[in-house]
């Protein structure tokens, strides 16, 4: 049964909406937007108080950027500078007017206090001219547009007197957003709608932000209606969640431009041989990964370019349009045979005569990954390869990952408005470090100057044609040389229900990821409408 009782403590204007996270105790109030672990950021309620300049649709990057606090957003062609015009008629929730000075102030903070620049934007200059602010960057921001525009703007009149922004608890968070903090409590945080919000009237009068101690507890809460909206991976989503209220419960995993991928050590055996990499790539069953490791609750990565669909479709080069991953052990074997591999009985022997084995490792407790590598290890058997599964503790694994002390691991890629991050993370020479030194990405030490150059060109180019060509090169190298093996999509997950409110983003209207902890949540909050 569904007991929606608790969540719909209906006031006269509508039901409250409970937004939940599985992050454990909230402990202390801190509405500091700079610290990812402050209560405001962790629970995400600051996203309903503070607003970004513009909204980049990460689930459909080809969409136009939606201006938000900036009424106009103009990039230079090389994306090294952006001019932002402050929106008129916006007020802070303490009554002050919002102006371009606030934008200027916020971006200047990153230059005076570089430690706050956690997105590594590298701002070199901020200038203001009346209503418009121009921010100049050290590099091209083409693939980081979202990170620039999603920066939430802070009120200058509050923050200019703050000595140490990192430890300021910001007890009365002032923002331009639709909601104000009305009550903080370690159990739940209550936000109420502003009636003077610039964007107009809001359907949801009250928001509650609640934290559960783990995923299981959160799933229980979503299933029985204690919580309405969450960004949470729900194992076994159908019976555990959807079936509890098939009419209203929605679980939407919208692929963004990020994937789970198997990094393989391209410097050591056996993955230093591209033929073996290709063969392995041919036996990994992505559908199985999505179905079993991720419980059928995420889309399958199907394009051989590794780009998730449909979000990545516009970026897939003509050559690979429609080409999808297929499990083909025979093809893989013949590839290997051609490369000089033989079989002793059932086990694969490499050209030098050594049996082929490798170890897959992911941290213990990372349950979907562990399932994932178990599946891959099974798949490797079909080639006659003995693959072992290691699950060290996460710190050990993390260190080994950085120094390249592994043969194969599962890892994610960053996400962005373009496929740049995704590919760069897997094959870019700019991450390259010798084995033993800690690398931040390209853990497999894939060393291809051509790929590095193409990626550079893609992100720094001043026109779309050059970009397109560069991306084509990147994809060709990716497919031909298999620097890493994508195994699954890494979607933006949202679980919510339509009992009280409709207007959520979804398959048919993917205007934003349904993730309440993103700066884009403000868009969803303004789009919601009462259900009847």
């Amino acid at each position: 049964g569904c007991t929606s009782g608790n969540s719909s403590s209906t006031s006269e204007s509508g039901a409250a909406l409970t937004i939940a996270k599985p992050d454990g105790a909230i402990a202390t109030e801190s509405n500091n937007p700079w610290i990812g672990e402050s209560s405001g950021m962790k629970l995400g309620y600051l996203n309903a108080i503070l607003e970004p300049l513009g909204i980049v649709n990460l689930v459909s990057p080809s969409d136009e950027v939606r201006p938000w606090l900036a009424s106009e957003i103009t990039w230079t062609d090389d994306y090294r500078a952006v001019t932002l015009v402050a929106r008129d008629g916006v007020t802070w929730n303490d009554g002050e007017d919002f102006t371009a000075e606030d934008i200027e102030f916020t971006f200047t903070m990153f230059t005076t206090k570089p430690e706050l620049d956690t997105a590594a934007l590298g701002i070199t200059d901020v200038t203001r001219d009346g209503d418009s602010v121009t921010v100049t960057f050290a590099g091209s921001m083409f693939s980081k547009q979202d990170k620039v525009l999603h920066k939430q703007i802070l009120p200058k009149h509050i923050w200019e007197s703050v000595e140490d922004p990192a430890t300021f608890a910001n007890p009365n968070p002032v923002g331009t957003g639709p909601y104000v903090l009305s009550q903080f409590d370690t159990q739940s945080v209550e936000l109420t709608a502003r009636d003077d919000y610039w964007g107009g009237k809001l359907a949801v009068p009250t928001l509650y932000y609640v934290s559960y101690n783990d995923n299981t507890a959160l799933t229980t809460a979503l299933a029985n209606g204690d919580a309405d909206w969450a960004q949470a991976f729900i194992p076994n989503v159908k019976s555990a969640y959807l079936d509890k209220d098939p009419e209203n419960n929605v679980y939407w995993a919208a692929a963004g431009l990020a994937i789970d991928t198997m990094f393989v050590n391209t410097q050591t055996k056996p993955f230093n041989d591209v033929a073996f990499r290709k063969a392995m790539n041919l036996v990994i069953d992505r559908t199985q990964y999505a179905d079993i490791a991720r419980e059928g609750s995420v889309p399958v990565v199907s394009s051989v370019t590794g780009l998730p669909t449909p979000v990545g479709d516009p970026f897939i080069s003509a050559e690979y349009k429609g080409e999808t991953y297929k499990v083909d052990a025979d093809a893989a074997k013949s590839l290997l045979k051609d490369a000089g591999y033989t079989w002793a009985g059932k086990s694969l022997v490499d050209p030098s005569g050594a049996p082929v084995t490798f170890a897959l490792s992911v941290p213990q407790g990372w349950n979907d990954y562990v399932t994932g590598i178990s599946l891959i290890a099974d798949a490797a058997k079909s080639l006659g390869v003995e693959a072992t599964v290691d699950t060290p503790d996460s710190d050990t694994w993390w260190e080994a990952k950085g120094t390249g002390d592994f043969q194969a691991i599962l890892h994610w890629t960053d996400t962005g408005a373009t496929p740049y991050d995704l590919y760069s993370n897997m094959m870019d020479g700019r991450w390259l470090k010798p084995l033993g030194e800690s690398a931040d990405f390209n853990f497999g030490r894939f060393d291809s100057p051509k790929a590095t150059a193409a990626l550079n060109e893609y992100t720094n180019a001043a026109d779309d044609a050059t970009r397109g060509a560069a991306l084509e090169t990147v994809q060709k190298i990716f497919v031909d040389e298999v620097p890493a093996m994508p195994v699954g999509t890494r979607p933006f997950i949202g679980a919510f229900n339509t009992r009280s409110y409709v207007g959520w983003p979804g398959e048919d209207n993917p205007y934003a990821p349904a993730d309440p902890t993103q700066p884009t949540a403000v868009l969803i909050l303004t789009e919601l409408e009462a259900a009847n």
Partner: protein, 321 residues
């Protein structure tokens, strides 16, 4: 002839504490688990990690007696294979912890003055240190912590209680006349501890051993459940971990109920053994428990505070009936 009797008699006395109904019941259950652990490979219908992708999350059936996991692994086989890990860790941890506890506790009890106090302080420090982070920290020093390492860590965090009990007991023993007599006979220290004292402590050592085994088994499963221990060490805790991570609670009962019951059953068996030992150490408990039923049958009301009067004649009648 006399020698034989001697040897057997001694053995008999050493294990006399296991010779009562409760201990025997506990030992039988434990024995069954041991057999499962040893012969797991033969008993289990499938490999523990064999995946059958056509049978995901299936309820118990004739093919899979206890159903399957999200990867189509056979739950029964996992439980059978998991037994070994649980028993190995439990017993290794018990042995190590008992060694430390005996070493430190008995020494602390036998010596006096500051030496005793500092050993006792050491024991207290180990009682005070929070176990969980210690386990995480030590486990993280190693790439792929072996069962032995995990057992050692559980032992290190678990010996202190036994050490305290043993110290107290040794302190009361050391002033007993027969220990004094051994001293007066000129027995060397090690012999006094090993030959004169330890046998008298066996029951307490055994009971503290059983106690640490229970604690280690619960600790192991809890750690595995929280995800602190590598799940490659298949055991009942990891089964529960997977079950919980994959949303088995509460719908897929076959996935989590058997493992939990196994842990409880093993714990129960161990505490039955402990009951037995307790009764051996304290014969009053024995007469209270074991004989109680027999006496009730004979018509005694044990809580009676008045001596029963039962003339022999009628007694005979009633027994005959």
């Amino acid at each position: 002839m006399t020698h034989k009797r001697n040897a057997f008699g001694r053995l008999g006395q050493t294990f006399a504490m296991f010779r009562n109904g409760k201990s025997v019941a506990g030992l039988s259950i434990l024995g069954a688990f041991c057999l499962v652990a040893i012969f797991g490979d033969w008993i289990a219908p499938y490999g523990p990690l064999d995946k059958d992708f056509t049978a995901l999350r299936q309820a118990p059936s004739w093919v899979h007696w206890l159903g399957t996991t999200h990867m189509g692994e056979d739950v029964l086989s996992q439980i059978i294979y998991g037994t070994r890990g649980v028993l190995v860790v439990g017993f290794t941890a018990g042995v190590i912890a008992t060694f430390i506890a005996v070493g430190i506790g008995v020494t602390a009890g036998y010596v006096t003055g500051w030496r005793s106090e500092s050993l006792s302080a050491l024991t207290n420090v180990f009682l005070v240190i929070p176990g969980l982070p210690l386990i995480i920290i030590i486990a993280s020093q190693y790439e792929n912590p072996s069962l032995l390492l995990i057992s050692s860590v559980l032992a290190i965090t678990g010996w202190a209680w036994g050490g305290r009990v043993l110290r107290a007991q040794t302190m009361s023993l050391r002033n007993r006349d027969f220990i004094q007599a051994a001293r007066a006979n000129g027995e060397p220290l090690y012999r006094i501890i090993a030959v004169e004292m330890l046998p008298n402590l066996t029951a307490i050592i055994a009971s503290s051993f059983v106690g640490t085994v229970i604690a280690a088994v619960l600790g192991l499963t809890t750690l595995a459940f929280i995800g602190v221990i590598p799940i490659t060490n298949l055991n009942w805790g990891t089964i529960l971990f997977w079950a919980q991570q994959n949303g088995a609670f509460p719908d897929f009962w076959w996935w989590y109920v058997p493992a939990g019951l196994c842990i409880a059953l093993l714990g129960m068996a161990l505490s039955l053994i402990n009951f037995g030992i307790d009764e051996y150490v304290n014969p009053r408990l024995r007469s209270a428990g074991e004989r109680a039923r027999a006496m009730r049958k004979k018509g005694f009301v044990l809580s009676d505070r008045v001596t029963a009067v039962r003339p022999r004649a009628t007694d005979d009648d009633s027994t005959r009936q």
